[in-house]
């Protein structure tokens, strides 16, 4: 099957690669762009470990073909901190509130949570729990994850 050229802006940098149409976005990010912060978990759009932002919104990169996002803009966990290493407030909140245990779900959690708070800046605890419905933590460390996200809401305590 014919390879197609795909151009994607990832974390502000333009990438261009020839890929098979069946290449999933998560594999494109990890293998073509070398950005391995985005994890593959369930590989069936249930667990959310592969969550990235597509044109600013959280999506599951295991359920999107790279060719579908040609010309669009993707942000991964590597693009969240400032170039000088200063963490994104959500990353800082996960750090401060012990919002991770093994860390495998964390990149997806941070990406899903930042997207959620863009849509509902003053989210309540119930809205945070429901809004993270698509992200599983197999350490079951949800309590501190929710606490971390709530710390980043409008009026939240950092």
């Amino acid at each position: 099957m014919k390879e197609l050229q795909v151009e994607v802006t990832v974390n502000g940098t333009r990438h261009s690669h020839d890929v098979e149409p069946r290449t999933l976005l998560v594999h494109y990010l990890r293998e073509n762009c070398g950005l391995t912060g985005t994890n593959v978990g369930c590989d069936s759009s249930s667990c959310g470990a592969c969550t990235v932002h597509l044109d600013g919104e959280a999506v599951k990169s295991c359920t999107i073909f790279a060719v579908q996002v040609d010309g669009q803009s993707v942000t991964t966990i590597e693009g969240m901190a400032d170039t000088d290493g200063t963490l994104h407030p959500m990353q800082e909140a996960f750090h401060a509130n012990h919002g991770l245990q093994c860390g495998y779900c964390t990149p997806g959690m941070v990406m899903a949570a930042t997207s959620l708070l863009q849509e509902i800046p003053d989210a309540t605890e119930a809205q945070v729990r429901e809004g993270l419905e698509g992200n599983l933590c197999r350490c079951t460390g949800y309590h501190n994850i929710v606490k971390s996200v709530l710390a980043c809401t409008e009026g939240g305590q950092q």
């Binding site: 069946r22 590989d43 069936s44 759009s45 959310g48 999506v59 359920t63 997207s115 698509g134």
Partner: protein
């Protein structure tokens, strides 16, 4: 999991999509948000040799006020439907059912037309469209035709959309004063409904759509008739599974599904103002 290899074509317009469908025939599959199709391809339950991407057709993404109904473009994403002020105020049941699909990430990609054209009996949105008596607009080379939601779902993953046709619009009657409720029973967050029910009561206009109670999304016509005749919620909901050939799987046998349908329809009727 990697799907079987395929060729990829991006449609630049609805007409272009129809041309590509005509060219590739039944080897081709349309992809919009892809959140039903891509998992099927990864599990190799589907292996189209050509994917026609209609995901960029912004001409089919809209919610318009068309007098007595809302016209919703088939490529309107779930996220945009559930948050649309018109949908929320005029067809609240549809906004609510849409907000229960998958999770936020899925709703950022999935489209109303994709969900409906997939024809999955376990999907939430078809039940709401049945209850609301929506009309589907199907476009082919010979023009458009309208199919009622009662006649649209033909069998398991089978709809009235033909091989060389495209579902382009969904017309949903406006019911701003109606009582309504969407009931979804599942065991875990994000799961498909084991059984679900969409309930709409607007005077004599009574609509009940069921999720996962047959091989296709179905209407509970007996309940509708009973409510119209003045039955109370307990008596009417007892008829919920009448005529259904409910599936059996690891989550529930047919008997349990029939029980759930009655309970969910009763709760839905009560929440919609039927005593």
């Amino acid at each position: 999991m990697i799907p079987v290899a395929f060729d990829y074509q991006r449609a630049e317009s609805a007409q272009h999509a129809l041309d590509l469908l005509a060219e590739h025939g039944d080897e081709a599959k349309l992809i919009a948000g892809g959140h039903s199709l891509v998992p099927l391809m990864k599990f190799r339950l589907a292996a189209p040799s050509v994917l026609i991407d209609i995901g960029r057709l912004s001409e089919l993404s809209y919610v318009n006020d068309s007098g007595d109904h809302l016209a919703i473009g088939a490529l309107t994403r779930h996220f945009d439907v559930e948050n649309d002020p018109l949908v929320r105020s005029q067809c609240g049941l549809l906004a609510e059912a849409t907000s229960k699909v998958g999770d936020p990430q899925v709703r950022h990609r999935g489209t109303i037309g994709g969900s409906v054209a997939h024809g999955d009996p376990a999907s939430d949105i078809p039940s709401a469209l049945i209850a609301l008596r929506a009309v589907m607009v199907i476009t082919g080379h010979d023009g458009q035709r309208e199919v009622s939601s009662s006649d649209f779902f033909l069998g398991f993953l089978e709809t009235a959309v033909g091989e060389a046709e495209l579902l382009t619009e969904i017309r949903v009657p406006k019911v701003p004063e109606a009582g309504w409720s969407f009931q979804k029973f599942n065991r875990r967050a994000q799961d498909w409904a084991i059984v679900g029910a969409s309930v709409l009561v607007d005077g004599d206009n009574v609509g009940i759509g069921l999720v996962n109670m047959d091989s296709r999304p179905v209407r509970a016509a007996s309940v509708e008739d009973a409510v119209r005749s003045g039955a109370n919620s307990a008596d009417a909901s007892a008829l919920a599974a009448e005529g259904c050939d409910a599936p059996a799987d690891l989550n529930a046998n047919a008997e349990f599904r029939a029980h759930l349908a009655a309970v969910l329809v009763r709760r839905g009727l009560e929440a919609s103002g039927v005593t």
